[in-house]
């Protein structure tokens, strides 16, 4: 076991992937000489050379589109999108090409492309630097969408994503890049938990609280705080947003009868909508209350000084828990 920050765990995972498979190439803006604006690729260009760790021109469609061509040629490109809000110029290549080429070619052409996206807010950044665009991709057939929340997962999941023959949108909780955790750098991928499987990070009996990325830690904190009030929360780290590991969530909700989903992205059509709808379909008779969503507002990401009024935090999550349990909460007495 080594103690690494999440960013360094990703770095180690990428290094390992580069070493294990010569067809793995990293591409992106400022990922080479600079090592990425978050230093996730620090040192990798020096170690593997400019043809394995490629500083590209400033163009997201260009990066993803050339990655498609490289995949045609048998490479496994790992693309870094510098910040969440800069993924949209590459949207067409992701949604109309990367996602569809395996289908379009009747399985002849594989798109083992990993698209790394530092995502989410809470770092006091400027506009377009704190977005949570994951729902767009979870709605796109042909893509897999995952989000890591801790160093150990980051190290393993990034390698799993690269090893996957399907394209993977890999979301990294940027505000947790510098948080440390234990990483087992010796464990083999074969033994690791598949990236499609969720993790129950705290067990509980009253409420199932599902989230992913940076909010996993907040959810755990909420569970600890709630325990003081005698409320037992089971926290599930979704890890895979598409497909979702419903088996784990269902089993939990059947026991707790209550579901709260929280994410930073807006509510309308967010990942929480799908979770709430699907769990209602699958567990209707077990639900004691409607699933509650605690999300960012449906607004453009606000200026830094206001972000704490946008992002779900411990208090807002607990308010959601109170709501699902019918305890006094901010909407008590409000007609639904």
């Amino acid at each position: 076991m080594t103690t690494l920050t999440l960013a360094k765990a990703l770095n180690a995972g990428l290094r390992r992937a580069l070493a294990d498979d010569e067809k793995v190439v990293l591409m992106g803006e400022d990922i080479g000489t600079l090592g990425g604006v978050f230093r996730v690729t620090d040192g990798l260009k020096a170690e593997f050379g400019a043809k394995r760790v490629v500083d590209t021109p400033l163009s997201e469609a260009g990066i993803v589109g050339t990655a498609v061509g490289l995949a045609y040629r048998g490479f496994r490109p790992v693309v870094e999108i510098q910040f969440d809000g800069f993924i949209y110029p590459g949207f067409d290549q992701i949604v109309a090409q990367v996602a569809k080429l395996h289908y379009r070619s009747r399985g002849n052409v594989r798109m083992p492309i990993t698209i790394r996206v530092p995502f989410g807010g809470g770092i006091g950044a400027a506009e377009h630097h704190s977005e949570s665009p994951e729902a767009y991709f979870a709605h796109t057939a042909g893509l897999r969408v995952v989000a890591c929340s801790n160093p150990a997962d980051a190290y393993v999941m990034v390698r799993q994503a690269i090893a996957s023959d399907d394209p993977v949108l890999f979301f990294e909780p940027k505000r947790r890049y510098h948080v440390k955790g234990e990483v087992d750098e010796t464990a083999s991928l074969a033994d690791a938990r598949p990236m499609g499987v969720a993790t129950t990070v705290a067990t509980g009996t009253h409420v199932t609280l599902v989230t992913y990325g940076a909010l996993v830690q907040t959810a755990r904190d909420a569970a600890v705080a709630a325990a003081e009030d005698g409320i037992s929360i089971e926290v599930i780290d979704l890890r895979s947003l598409a497909p979702v590991d419903y088996a784990t969530i269902e089993a939990s909700v059947r026991r707790t009868g209550h579901l709260v989903v929280t994410h930073e992205a807006g509510q309308q059509g967010g990942v929480g909508a799908e979770l709430a709808a699907s769990i209602t379909e699958r567990c209707f008779e077990f639900l004691e209350a409607a699933p509650v969503r605690v999300t960012g507002h449906d607004i453009p990401y606000p200026p830094a000084k206001l972000e704490r009024h946008h992002l779900p935090d411990l208090d807002r999550i607990l308010d959601g828990v109170d709501r699902v349990l019918g305890r006094p909460n901010s909407l008590s007495g409000v007609e639904a």
Partner: protein, 393 residues
């Protein structure tokens, strides 16, 4: 503050020539061979026999194109984008390629598929609406057709980058139209290709129209001039002159193989037919224009040149017509061999690896179909027994 009403020149450079015939032509519309010191050395191997083979290619793809259009009119195909008029541009470039070069085409490059030995059924299945694509790209060195305008230019560039990184001298070629040059993707492809010295040829068929929009709406400048600003050579050739196209593509491929980077080729040609069988070009262009371009036919000039070289062109035409008719007959026959896809194949190949969500959806739909029919829904004829819209329950 306005010292003169003429443009400052100095470094405010802008090239002037936008004459339509400002291009390399090796064979005139009437079949005269025009000497060109730069280009001629690249086609010294093209003797009358070789020229006859190029003629044969062009005649056959023209015939295939006509037959496919007819098949669409008869309801056998859902749609067909005719290549008529662009035979020289496609055959001249296609025959310049080596087998290991990789083609990233748009939707109209049927002649490239012909050069690559794509079977008739493979060619038509996608236009019949029977399959997401017709052929295995790796069997023919040609990607599946691209409908999103310009997207394939980036794919070709990435492929070429990879081929170079592997140390091979394989090249990639991207086909796109005049309209496509306005899309960001094509321009970004030029940026990446130049930056990485990618061994890629950007082959732009300027067929004068993007559906109803004339090329002048996309650019007031010759498209080949676009290249220079991105740091690569550009060449404008008579796209109805198969020799000029062949030479230009060979020059470009040679540069690519030598590690000298990408080249932009603009082949000036004309789409003689509608944009697709769904289009009505009468709404936007005149008969005069058709007549004018008809006089620059890519096949006629080759025949005239062969004639002047002493070749028995009547014999050639007879042979080629017979061959073309056979190809057309094969095409027609192939249509009927394209099986309707089985209902549950809608779920195939969405992912390369198991996907719990989609497997569940597939299972549910299987159960749904089973309500209508006791025979298996997996069989290729199951489509026939699936529910029709509005079926009573």
């Amino acid at each position: 503050m306005t010292p003169s009403d003429r443009d400052a020149t100095g470094l405010l450079t802008q090239s002037e020539s936008t004459r339509a015939d400002d291009f390399v032509q090796l064979v005139s519309p009437t079949g005269e061979r025009r000497a060109n010191a730069e280009f001629d050395p690249w086609i010294t191997d093209v003797d009358p026999a070789a020229l006859g083979r190029l003629y044969r290619d062009m005649a056959i793809v023209r015939r295939i194109d006509t037959e496919a259009t007819a098949l669409q009119r008869q309801g056998e195909l859902g749609l067909w984008p005719p290549l008529a008029g662009q035979e020289a541009a496609q055959i001249g470039s296609g025959r310049a390629l080596r087998d290991d070069d990789f083609i990233f085409s748009s939707y109209r490059e049927h002649a490239l598929a012909w050069c690559r030995g794509v079977e008739p059924a493979e060619l038509l299945s996608v236009w019949r609406g029977s399959a997401a694509s017709g052929w295995n790209p790796f069997e023919h060195g040609m990607a599946v057709p691209q409908i999103i305008i310009g997207a394939q230019a980036l794919h070709a560039t990435g492929y070429a980058m990879g081929a170079a990184w592997e140390g091979t001298d394989t090249a990639a070629i991207a086909y796109f139209g005049d309209g496509a040059t306005s899309e960001g993707d094509v321009n970004e492809a030029l940026v990446f290709a130049a930056s990485f010295d990618a061994p890629v040829v950007f082959f732009c068929q300027n067929n004068q129209w993007a559906i109803s929009e004339p090329v002048g709406l996309q650019s007031k400048q010759h498209l080949a001039r676009r290249a220079d600003g991105f740091g690569m050579p550009g060449v404008r050739v008579d796209g109805n002159d198969v020799l000029a196209v062949l030479a230009a593509t060979r020059i470009a491929l040679d540069r690519a193989r030598r590690g000298a980077g990408p080249t932009f080729v603009e082949a000036v040609t004309y789409r003689m037919g509608p944009h697709t069988t769904a289009d009505d070009p009468k709404r936007y262009r005149t008969d005069d224009e058709l007549v004018e371009w008809g006089g620059r036919d890519p096949l006629a000039r080759v025949l005239a040149l062969l004639d002047a070289s002493g070749v028995d062109i009547e014999g050639l035409q007879r042979d080629v017509t017979a061959e073309a008719d056979r190809a057309a007959a094969e095409l027609r026959a192939a249509v009927t061999t394209i099986a309707d896809p089985a209902p549950l194949t809608v779920f195939d190949n969405v992912y390369a690896e198991p996907n719990s969500h989609l497997e569940r959806q597939r299972e549910h739909y299987t159960r749904y179909l089973a309500m209508f029919d006791t025979s298996s829904a997996e069989g290729s004829d199951a489509a026939a027994s699936a529910p029709a819209e509005g079926d009573a329950r």
